[in-house]
Amino acid sequence: MRLSGPAVALLALTLLAGCPQPMPDITPEPPVLRRLTAAQFHNTIGDLLGDDLYIPEGLEPDLRAGGLLEVGASKAALSPRGTENFEQAAYVLAEQAMAEDRRGALVPCTPTGPVDSACAETFVSEFGRRAWRRPLTDDEVQRLTGVADQGASTLGDFYGGLEFALAGLLLAPEFLYRIELGEADPTGAWARRYSDYEMASRLSFLLWNSTPDDELLDAAERGELTQEQGLRVQLERLLTSPRSREGLRAWFADFLQLADLDDLYKETSVFMHMSDTLGASAREETLLTFETLALEEAGDLRDLLTTRRTFINRELAALYDMRAPARDGFAEAALDPDRPRRGLLGQASFLSLHAHPVSSSPTLRGRFLREVLLCQDLPGALADVDTSIPPVSEEARTLRERVQRHLEDPSCGGCHRLMDLPGLGLEHFDGIGRYRASEEGVAIDASGELDGIQFDDASGLASAIHDHPDFIPCAVQTFVRYATGVEERQDQQDGLDWLSDQFALRKHLVAELVEDLVTSPLFRQAGTISEEASP
């Protein structure tokens, strides 16, 4: 059979896409211990013990580092207060799990009496493997079985004894921390690699934001996750599971720092549409936009910046002054093509988070664009510089006119121009994201500039970020940080560049980025353990 010219070209492209050049050699990061984030703790408990348990909240605050909670997790110590909270939570959870109507699903054997070491040992072994994400050693099993037996003997109740063993499992560092230290690579390909069980944990927390399931642990037990073929099989299984939406939403939420919406504060006398539920609604809008356009429809990640499609409830529809698409819950809505609101930068999550409690802020918005979306470094404000914005006056009524002082001041202007000139493009939106045509009776001028690109309003700014050469490398860098829990080193830049190039070749599809990273040395290769790397 002869192939036509276009068919040959298509085949060549397919082969090229299917057989990319491998990632250049990188120096792997030293392994770190990552404490489960609050969301991961919650999800993991749900997976292990059931979704309907009462799970105490606020046990220990998450820490943000390198722009991400997931990186902060590798730097977060456990405070004495946090330790007490986790201990208390462990007992609360264990008591619920061993309740009469629930324990049957958790304990795989029927005790022969108040003390049944064999049954306790079976529970500790089986449940322990899921909780600690690896098989327990014989010593660990014996120690925890002993705890169960002693408790059962004292209480005269087998399940009462198991409560102590279960609490011990949930209190252990092996549960609260993701212990991924690597092992010597027996194949000699690398000096060190992450072990099969560590890969199970890395995969599961990346894609499901929760603990590995039995199938993944079984694959680890069979040694499949250190082999590329086996790794790809499990990667595909996890990615095609509906649960991957939750996991990748967690990345996107961390990327855009959406957890901060939990503490959103705005002065309600200034912003009438502010409410206790606005932060949560705004977060869901952004995550649904990501989930639907980037994951479900496999769209170009950059298009999230410029899309006129959004997903809102009645509260957000009122804020945006548009008809609600549904009476209850969230539904898709089309933004007015003649208005500047579009994409992520037109959403209440971004607009409200990066503003003051009583006003918008070109500086905060511009700073976020530079630092988070473009991964550019900005100098901090000088200690002895007055950063306050002049009050409204006859000469300076709009915020643009008032921040002009910063732009003209030689000690502030250099940095403020970097932040304010793009940030001013969003001045059509007030401090919670409601559209306004004027401020203090003066029509808003939302023109601005970003790295040589002039624009007239937020819509133009969205295009400027969409096309900015730093956006995709920044998204990739953030994703790698999220997946590995560490900030990249300079000598890993080639690896990041390779990922960015691959991402572009694959039309910026998030699932492809996941695959390229997970199968790359950046995710699989472990560095040498550093004493400074973890708390």
């Binding site: 309600t268 549409h273 529809a317 003649d338 306004r436 045509a437």
Partner: protein
């Protein structure tokens, strides 16, 4: 066309920005919708002065039998002939019931029981003298309130298909105001512990554009004295003394539509309102 009080200068803050925003709407776009967020009886304050309309096209004094001897008021700009006789009844009513009627009306607005809405078709070009289709309807829903304890703008409601609907084919744009007549509408108002219908007849409505999605306005008309009496008679718990007092007040303050015997059958009523942008579910 009956003479109306012109737009009050302090209400006519129709900014260029708002004009621009309205102009942004494409031709043939869907109607602009607003919902009343504040509704209250126009009061006579100071004495002899009230917002309102010259509903009977005459300036009455104590000797004018055509106005049943009820002197007309002046509007705040000094125009004579303003009919709002109910303004003098309201204090007596509030004293009788012991509850602020205005607060009850506002509570009904805030709870969503009285969602009075305007649908304005053809507003987008804002051409002076142009015809705008103006529909007055009621919505249903549970509105969210802002920190000012008033309905938030931009909310979406369902049409209340059981409530009256009034359409004015050609409301006219004058300056920053949309003026429409004849305006007739039946409003359910909580006067005592129950709702009574107040049907405005042969009235006028004016809506001032204040800015994007912000409106202020007024509407007035005649209310049948007999209808009010009949409604009052159906309300339990109103004592004979109170009913008699209200009858007397209504009889003595009726100022419109005198019958052959010279007894006025209607009393003039004026409401003021503020409104905010709103939407209606399509299905």
């Amino acid at each position: 066309m009956r003479r109306r009080a012109p737009l009050h200068a302090h209400l006519a803050i129709f900014s260029a920005a708002a004009m621009t925003a309205l102009g942004c709407q494409p031709q043939g776009s869907e109607p602009t919708v607003a919902v009343v967020s504040e509704l209250y009886f126009a009061s006579e304050e100071p004495s002899g002065v009230s917002v309102g309309f010259d509903l009977d096209e005459r300036t009455s004094d104590e000797n004018d039998t055509g106005g049943c001897g009820i002197p007309d008021l002046q509007d705040p700009e000094g125009r004579a002939g303003i009919d709002n006789s109910f303004a003098s009844v309201l204090p007596a009513l509030e004293l009788t019931e012991g509850v602020a009627v205005q607060a009850l009306i506002q509570a009904a607005v805030n709870s969503g029981e009285l969602l009075l809405m305007f649908e304005m078709d053809g507003l987008e070009t804002w051409t002076p003298g142009a015809c705008v289709g103006l529909s007055v309807l009621r919505g249903t829903g549970e509105p969210k309130l802002g920190s000012n304890d008033r309905l938030l703008g931009g909310q979406t409601y369902d049409r209340n298909l059981d409530a009256p609907h009034h359409a004015i084919d050609c409301a006219e744009i004058t300056g920053a105001t949309l003026e429409g007549s004849p305006f007739e509408y039946r409003l359910p108002l909580q006067i005592f512990d129950e709702y009574i219908d107040l049907t405005l007849l042969d009235g006028v409505i004016e809506i001032d554009m204040l800015g994007i999605g912000e409106y202020r306005g007024r509407f007035g008309g005649g209310v049948s004295v007999q209808e009010v009496k009949d409604n009052m008679a159906m309300i339990d718990g109103v004592g004979d003394e109170v009913r008699s007092l209200i009858d007397t007040v209504l009889n003595t303050r009726a100022d419109l539509q005198p019958d052959a015997a010279g007894i006025c059958q209607q009393i003039s009523v004026v409401f003021e309102f503020t409104a905010v942008s709103a939407y209606l579910f399509e299905d």
